[in-house]
């Protein structure tokens, strides 16, 4: 009966077994190893405490490059290499190829000795020093600052406190700035509950552990983060493009860092609860943060599917600043996917580039 079919099917069975073996190997590899990330060539041009300032090696000839340097400020609670995840999926690589002189501030990993660092220190000690170095290295008195998430809070505060420091363009990505709506998103609800005491957390841990912040972010979409992500990998083990992309993203997601305790307490109390920044009564070393002092050209990029910083937290700043040249850009994707997902190259990066290019000469 199976004299003619058996050999063929036994070969097919062998192929299937081989495929299963290969898939198992892939699964073990990507779930137990770190992907090669942050590969765009760079050099460290400044360090301060744990922070490092990188300059990415330009690939475009000096005379064709944009004159205004681009300064990237990422959030405090994750590693900034999400902006340079892997070749072909790197915002930094893309912008360097578009002719920008790109600088990235890596805040580093705070130690217990940094537990008292506040927004005040990051904005008035770290940022001005890094900016001075950028000006010295680039030879330009003007610069563009791009802040993402908490990096956008820091950039906004800086832009309001130092409007005459050469800031030409301000780009905000998924910026959590306005917490008027106390029901918008899980974070706002959690931290506004009377049982939640940020001082107790800081007193217990010093710096807020990365795992705790990570739990908070993942618990907003528990099924997607704890199960869906692995099922996507399982379903696509035959697809090297998806597997490598998953591997790189998983490397970043599991590379957790703590957040300085005092900064965390300030974030929860002064921003999430008291909404001081947007109301104009936030004090940074005694200086009031007045958003109407922001005059730089403003591009505010909002992710329509953002569950961490819902759009309503980012939109209202447009009416508060004095920038004559301002644009609110709504793009597809989530908080991270907007800039590092597969659609970023199509839906986000070209828009940022086209807006910035004509303002960088």
């Amino acid at each position: 009966m199976s004299a003619s079919s058996s050999p063929m099917n036994s070969a097919a069975l062998q192929d299937e077994l081989k495929r299963i073996e290969e898939n198992t190997r892939t699964l073990v590899r990507v779930s137990t190893s770190r992907a090669k990330v942050a590969q765009t060539p760079k050099q460290v041009i400044w360090t301060f405490n744990k922070a490092k300032l990188y300059r990415y090696i330009p690939v475009v000839a000096a005379e064709q490059r944009h004159k205004v340097p681009l300064f990237l400020v990422f959030a405090l609670m994750n590693k900034p290499y999400i902006l340079d995840l892997r070749p072909g999926n790197s915002f930094i690589e893309y912008m360097v190829k578009q002719g920008y002189d790109v600088y990235l501030l890596d805040w580093g990993v705070p130690g217990i000795e940094d537990k008292d660092l506040k927004f005040d220190d990051y904005v008035l000690d770290y940022l001005p020093r890094a900016i001075r170095k950028i000006k010295a290295v680039s030879g330009s008195d003007e610069f563009t600052m791009l802040g993402w998430c908490i990096g956008a809070i820091l950039s906004t505060i800086y832009a309001a406190l130092r409007p005459d420091d050469g800031l030409k363009n301000l780009i905000l990505l998924t910026a959590p700035l306005d917490f008027t709506d106390k029901k918008a998103g899980g974070f706002v609800r959690w931290v506004n509950d009377e049982a939640f005491d940020p001082d107790k957390i800081v007193s217990a841990f010093g710096n807020v552990p990365g795992e705790m912040i990570d739990y908070g972010a993942k618990a907003l979409k528990p099924v997607e983060n704890y199960i869906g992500s692995y099922l996507t990998l399982w379903d696509n083990l035959d697809n090297p493009r998806i597997v490598e992309s998953w591997h790189a993203m998983n490397t970043w997601v599991t590379d957790l860092i703590p957040m300085a305790g005092a900064t965390y307490a300030q974030l929860i109390k002064e921003l999430y609860r008291e909404n001081r920044l947007i109301q104009g009564n936030m004090l940074i070393r005694g200086e009031r943060v007045d958003l109407s002092r922001i005059r730089a050209n403003l591009l505010n990029v909002i992710a329509l599917g953002d569950h961490i910083s819902p759009p309503c937290q980012s939109e209202s700043i447009m009416a508060k600043v004095s920038s004559e040249d301002q644009l609110l850009l709504k793009v597809k994707g989530g908080h991270i996917g907007m800039m590092a997902g597969s659609g970023a190259l199509k839906f986000t990066w070209p828009h940022i580039d086209s807006w910035l290019a004509e303002r960088s000469e």
Binding site: M1, N9, E113, E194
Partner: protein, 146 residues
């Protein structure tokens, strides 16, 4: 020959098994995705509810309150042990780190001053060395020629 042709007309058990497996897998996947979607929506709603916020807040508060005395005891014991062994305490390391940061701050200030001085020196020396021998001392003209 006739036996052979008869045998090829019989259904191949592997193929049947494969197609059955594929159909079942497809059905199972679609069922899985549908149930995951609805589960996900339910969990997101739960995580975004006031009840969840209050429960997790209270749980965290209880944990921190209950663990506080133990943390205090451990800290006290650690301090006594390290002091007894003549080893530096956490506070010693922290204050050393703070002193290093202060030194770094001063160094960075010096670096800024040095950059300013170098910049000023460059500004003074650049027009002379790069200008193509201006006919008079008008620096604006020399700059334009460049």
């Amino acid at each position: 020959m006739s036996n052979d042709s008869e045998s090829t007309n019989l259904p191949d058990p592997f193929e049947t098994m494969n197609s059955l497996w594929e159909t079942n897998l497809k059905n199972w996947k679609s069922m899985r995705d549908t149930s995951l979607d609805s589960w996900s929506k339910m969990m997101i709603d739960t995580a975004n509810s006031d009840e969840y916020s209050h429960t997790t807040g209270q749980w965290l508060d209880t944990y921190l309150t209950l663990s506080q005395p133990f943390r205090r005891i451990i800290d006290l014991m650690m301090t006594q042990v390290l002091t007894g062994l003549n080893m530096p305490l956490r506070t010693d390391v922290t204050s050393l780190a703070e002193r290093l940061t202060n030194i770094e701050t001063r160094l960075d200030d010096q670096d800024a001053k040095l950059d300013d001085i170098l910049g000023a020196l460059k500004a003074v020396s650049l027009p002379k060395s790069t200008a193509p021998k201006p006919t008079n001392n008008n620096s604006a003209k020399a700059k334009g020629a460049r």
